[in-house]
């Protein structure tokens, strides 16, 4: 349930206000998950000094009560023996009457899948969340020099949540938990976040001699991200301390930026920007400097085009620019950090009741630096028949250097085996086309149709983190087994290229368990037989939307499609092996595709699990009717009502056999389908 209301008005002559409020209650798909949220927003935008000073004050506060269900129930439902009843029929049975796996000796089988309903029932997890987002903006036009504008923006995003989790005593899940051993546990946690920003800029714009438009802007911004979290757990049965942790960190971002715009007669446009961005995340390489230049030619405004009737828009755009990326990992990855362990279970020198809480050295990347992308772009915009048909075409090349990625580091070179590192360079080349048409436009009927298509080719051009003659960098960790990676980053190939063994099939077309093609013909199957094959990211992506209005009726449909994206079906690869059907004295349910592969053992690195994930999706359909004037609230204030129905996530056309082929990164571990949502809504305006 979702209800919103807003009131807008004006106090006196120059204090417009807007107050909004909303309540929402959302129940999750899992039993017991729920969010209740109350929102209150206030917006004031007074003006002073004859409109020279504009102040915009925004504040939004929310309170939410969240009930979280045990997400483990999803996986458990997938693996649990489907022939077992939820409750056993033994009167007065243990474990709240839920069906449970026992081992041959009569103890609870702690390796078995936990009863998913029992799992939902065994945990209580709730949190109160408070959030305030506020910002105040002052915009001042200098008295007597109104072309110069000074703008100051102050913002805060404050959030706090306080929660507690209880794993109930004497439940199957608690017996499976080795630190609880059936005694249950209780955790109190809290989280506080405070992000503040300050931005200031001056902007001068003036048109000289009616044709020369100049806009100069310079400013700086300062951002501070700060957070602090605590968590304290104890065992319920005997109050044993299970750990007391605190995490605290902060990040500063500081930028100086400038922009110069010049246009002549609305025909020739030039924009140049320069920004210097500083981050506290990279202590030894804090600053990145990123320039850009863009040229525009509004051909339609040339005298010779003015009378070319069907053409209403014609623009040429050329640009070159650099952008930076620093968002990677934690706040302190360049520091050699020493962790003070605070968790029982990881203590040492235990002697009687005495113990030592160890300090350990953590891995770090001292030389992390900005990832920089240089983009070259050329584009044309077309418009015909008063822009009833508009088209834009862009071709681009993006060179990214010092790519930030989380990769395995050579043994003994650091104090961990995985780190965030600048790994090398890549290039993206592509074309984007966008077409929008107004197919009909009359008093009663309007119909628009828009479609876009894009092609992108990604190639790794340089690797600096590993040696030049190395095979590449492993990536794409999967679940199942330990430490399996199914992708490789290698020069000359796209970033997420799958690196697997080639499956051998029998005459009936069924895969043969553990038999792969000896691609290098050395008579044995070794890691050298793995090959760089398909890649995860799409070659082609498309989107479309259409809207039809007839009298008071509206209808809209949208969808998107993708070609050439390949998906590794991790759900199938992890739940098909038949050896696990009955192991350790419990049944572990297999996915329905298991009888097709008939793999006795898991074949995680077989390209059998790599599938073409190309798809077409219909995303959204809305049908609505508006009653423009049900009655009049007062004179000239009609009460209008809009009634609509929406379906989200309508259907997907694909050959992919998993739940959903639209997976960023191409590794599909989803056992939880994206919900199809039906919405009925009413909007009132008065």
């Amino acid at each position: 349930m979702d209800a919103n209301m807003s009131i807008a008005g004006r106090l006196g002559t120059n204090l417009p206000y807007r107050i909004s409020t909303g309540v929402i209650r959302q129940q999750g798909t899992l039993k017991g998950s729920e969010m209740d949220r109350l929102t209150l927003g206030l917006n004031l935008s007074p003006t002073f000094f004859d409109n020279h000073l504009t102040v915009n004050v925004n504040g939004k506060g929310t309170y939410a009560l969240n009930w979280y269900a045990n997400q483990g129930a999803i996986g458990a439902a997938n693996h649990y023996d489907p022939t077992k009843p939820v409750y056993n029929d033994v009167p007065g049975a243990n474990l709240n009457g839920y069906t449970t796996w026992y081992d041959a000796a009569g103890s609870i089988n702690t390796m078995a899948t936990v009863n998913p309903v029992a799992l939902l029932d065994s945990r209580r997890d709730m949190a109160d969340a408070y959030r305030f987002i506020g910002n105040t903006q002052f915009d001042y036009k200098i008295h007597g020099f109104e072309d110069l504008r000074l703008n100051l923006n102050l913002g805060i995003d404050w959030a706090k949540s306080i929660g507690e989790t209880t794993n109930k005593q004497g439940t199957e899940a608690s017996f499976h938990n080795t630190t609880e051993s059936g005694l249950g546990s209780h955790t109190d946690y809290d989280y506080l976040r405070r992000n503040t920003t300050l931005e200031f800029y001056g902007d001068y714009s003036h048109t000289f001699a009616e044709k020369h438009f100049v806009d100069l802007m310079a400013g700086y911004s300062w951002q501070h991200f700060w957070s602090n979290s605590h968590s304290k757990s104890y065992r319920l049965g005997d109050n044993l301390n299970l750990g007391d942790t605190e995490g605290k960190g902060e990040l500063y971002l500081v930028s100086f930026f400038g922009r110069a715009n010049y246009s002549f007669a609305d025909r020739y446009l030039i924009t140049a920007t320069l920004r210097a961005d500083g981050t506290s995340r990279f202590q030894n390489n804090k600053w990145g400097v990123f320039p850009s230049v863009a040229l525009g030619w509004n051909i339609k405004n040339e005298p010779f085009m003015l009378n070319v009737e069907p053409v209403s828009t014609l623009k040429l755009r050329l640009s070159w620019g650099e952008t930076g990326q620093q968002e990677v990992g934690g706040y302190y990855e360049t520091f050699a950090q020493f962790l003070s362990i605070n968790t029982p279970g990881s203590y040492y020198f235990v002697n009687g009741g005495n113990y030592t809480a160890p300090i350990v050295a953590l891995g770090y990347s001292a030389n992390l630096k900005w990832e920089t992308t240089t983009t070259y772009n050329a584009g044309m915009d077309f418009g015909f028949w008063h822009d009833r048909l508009t088209t834009s075409v862009d071709v681009y090349k993006r060179d990214t250097r010092d790519i930030l990625n989380y990769i395995p580091v050579p043994g003994l070179s650091n104090l961990t085996n995985y780190l965030n590192t600048n790994i090398g360079s890549m290039t993206n080349k592509g074309v984007e086309v966008d077409v929008n048409a107004v197919l009909a436009e009359t008093r009663d009927l309007s119909w628009t149709f828009g479609v876009n298509g894009a092609y992108n080719k990604n190639t790794v051009t340089k690797l600096t983190a590993s040696d030049e003659n190395a095979t590449g960098i492993e990536t794409g960790g999967i679940s199942g087994g330990t430490g399996n990676n199914v992708q490789m980053i290698q020069i000359g190939y796209p970033m997420r290229t799958f690196y697997l063994y080639e499956q051998v099939y029998d005459q009936a077309g069924n895969p043969i368990n553990g038999v792969y093609v000896d691609r290098n013909d050395d008579g044995q199957i070794t890691a050298d037989d793995r090959y760089l094959g398909h890649h995860a990211d799409a070659d082609w992506t498309f989107g479309f939307n259409t809207a039809l209005n007839w009298k008071n009726w509206t209808a809209a449909l949208s969808g998107h499609a993708s070609l050439g994206n390949w998906v590794y079906n991790n759900v199938a690869s992890d739940t098909e092996m038949l050896a696990d059907l009955w192991t350790n004295q419990f049944v572990s349910n297999r996915v329905a595709s298991a009888p097709k592969s008939m793999f006795s053992q898991a074949q995680y690195l077989s390209d059998y699990y790599l599938q073409d994930g190309s798809f077409l999706k219909l995303d959204n359909f809305t049908l609505g009717y508006t009653f423009p004037k049900l009655f009049e609230v007062s004179q000239d204030r009609p009460f209008s009502l809009n009634v609509f129905g929406t379906v989200q996530n309508i259907c997907t056309f694909t050959k992919y056999t998993g739940i959903d082929p639209e997976i960023f990164g191409g590794i599909d571990g989803t056992v939880y389908p994206r919900p199809r949502v039906f919405i009925l809504g009413v909007k009132a305006n008065f």
Partner: protein, 529 residues
């Protein structure tokens, strides 16, 4: 007036801007993870830091048994040091099979592991992590000055831990990446040859002994490494020198053992209580009492030092089927580890070390995945030797019975005096005299209730080592040294055939894992792979 306001505004603004740029110079504010100057501040922090290096042998990570594995990308349990050592040293031999479907776990026993085996990669990474952790300790502790004598001792303890890790590296992988505290973090290490690593280890261990900073037996604090452990390791290195370098060094081995035999260690021959024999005491929950015989052990504790590896793995994985988990001192078994009939038949019924569960088991392993095939181990237990009680047991109301805990107190005895006596006897038989070596050998037999052998053969030595030290992670090295690992002796399911078969001799070394060769092109693969 307005002008002044503008000027003040501009001044205030530039002050704000410069302080904002200064904000970028941060230092961590996390109270639990901070820079060395804030963490290493006094003598107590030195104790905490050295315990962190020891922790690398004992747990998978830093946040209890489940959380924060210090090796990413690998299951916390499977990446634990001693569990990895067990995989490589025991599952590959006649002593142990594992029946699980965990990926490639059976390939150890089948002797057909591949270069991308994740269990091999896990142990390899763990060894190198331990070296890196010791290197960092030495680097940092050299820089501070709180207590010169203690720092000297702790640096030598870290050197000894690094030597243990490098010993496992030379034994299992031979030619490995190499770095010391002289090297810096962030550089791809070069590969060292097995022969060069031998020379380095020999010099390093001798250096620690000469340095004299480590305490002798009686002064070793619980959990710490003393001088005895360093001598033990040097003896092991010499004992296997022929395997590592092609040249035998039994005379040097004998000299070190003679020295170690004068250090006050002795066989534990008087039982701590009435439930278990003296031999069993060494593998009980309170085996930290046996400081007479145990030279160095990796600690475990049911409440404070928990892992899914080390002795916790050995005891839980050895328990299964119809075995009574509570009598082993644990909550319930994982049902994985058993032994082959070839190994079981080396024990006579009267041998005090014949600690196997046979009741509902068959000796013959027809199906490696079936726990009841092959007799099961009952050597390690989480039961106190003093009173026969199970530590951290809990009364289960619903079943009205006691339940064992999920984590054990039993320490993993990595170095024992019985091994010293057996090494001495081996040197003697191989022609490097150690006074009293044969008496020592027979003292080990006598404790087990076996008659003395006046002139033991090499096979007698190997068999005695097997009976005395099974599940203690020496078997693969011993079989290789005696020429019985890849050929010359077969057992069930070796080479993936029921009755066992010879395999290629290159399998005496494990491969350098693919993952690391991809990341570090300095590394050449071991021959044969």
């Amino acid at each position: 007036m307005k002008k002044i306001q503008y000027i003040l505004g501009v001044l205030a603004l530039s002050a704000a801007v410069s302080s904002c740029v200064g904000d970028l110079n941060v230092t961590p504010i996390d109270p639990n993870a901070n820079t060395v100057d804030k963490v290493l501040t006094d003598k107590a922090s030195l104790d905490r830091y050295i315990s962190g290096v020891y922790l690398g042998f004992a747990t998978s990570g830093y946040y209890g048994p489940n959380g924060g594995a210090s090796i990413s990308g690998l299951d916390g349990g499977a990446s634990q040091y001693i569990r990895g050592l067990y995989h490589l040293q025991e599952l590959t031999t006649d002593e142990s099979v594992c029946g699980w479907n965990d990926q490639t776990i059976k390939n150890f026993h089948y002797m057909n592991w591949t270069t991308d085996d994740t269990f091999i990669y896990a142990f390899y990474s763990r060894i190198l992590m331990q070296v890196a952790s010791a290197n960092e300790f030495i680097r940092e502790v050299k820089k501070v000055d709180f207590d010169a004598a203690l720092q000297k001792r702790y640096i030598d303890e870290a050197r000894a831990m690094r030597a243990i890790a490098y010993y496992h590296a030379i034994d299992c992988f031979g030619n490995v990446p190499f770095a010391t505290d002289e090297d810096i973090v962030g550089v791809n290490p070069p590969q060292i040859s097995r022969t060069d690593l031998f020379a380095w280890l020999e010099g390093e261990l001798k250096g620690i002994i000469e340095n004299g900073a480590l305490p002798e037996r009686s002064a070793v604090e619980a959990g710490h490494i003393g001088m005895g452990a360093v001598k033990f390791l040097l003896a092991k290195l010499y004992l296997n020198a022929k395997v590592y370098t092609g040249t035998d060094r039994f005379a040097d081995c004998a000299a070190v053992l003679k020295d170690l035999m004068d250090d006050g260690y002795s066989l534990h021959t008087t039982p701590n209580g009435s439930t278990f024999s003296a031999y069993q005491d060494l593998f009980c929950a309170d085996n930290d009492r046996c400081t007479d015989e145990i030279i160095f052990a990796v600690q475990q504790d049911g409440l404070y030092t928990q892992s899914y590896g080390a002795t916790n793995y050995i005891i839980f994985a050895s328990t299964g089927g119809q075995m009574d988990a509570f009598s082993m001192g644990i909550s319930s078994g994982w049902g994985g580890l058993r032994t082959t009939p070839e190994f079981y038949h080396k024990f006579s019924a009267s041998d005090a070390r014949n600690l196997f569960y046979t009741a509902t088991q068959q000796e013959d392993i027809e199906d490696i995945g079936e726990f009841s095939h092959g007799v099961a181990f009952m050597k390690f237990r989480n039961v106190n030797s003093v009173d026969g009680d199970v530590p951290n047991k809990a009364w289960n109301e619903e079943d009205a019975k006691w339940a064992g805990p999920s984590f054990v107190n039993t320490d993993f005895p990595m170095m024992r005096y019985a091994d010293v006596l057996l090494m001495a006897a081996e040197c003697q038989v191989r022609g490097a005299a150690v006074p009293g070596a044969i008496d020592g050998f027979n003292a080990v037999r006598a404790r087990a209730g076996l008659a003395a052998i006046a002139n033991p053969s090499l096979q007698d030595i190997l068999d005695e080592r097997g009976r005395e030290l099974y599940q203690e992670c020496w078997r693969r090295s011993d079989l290789i040294r005696f020429g019985q690992f890849t050929s010359g002796y077969n057992w069930q399911w070796k080479g993936e055939t029921k009755d066992g078969r010879d395999v290629d001799s290159y399998r005496e070394l494990f491969p350098i894992p693919d993952s690391d060769r991809l990341a570090n092109s300095n590394l050449a693969q071991n021959p044969g792979y």
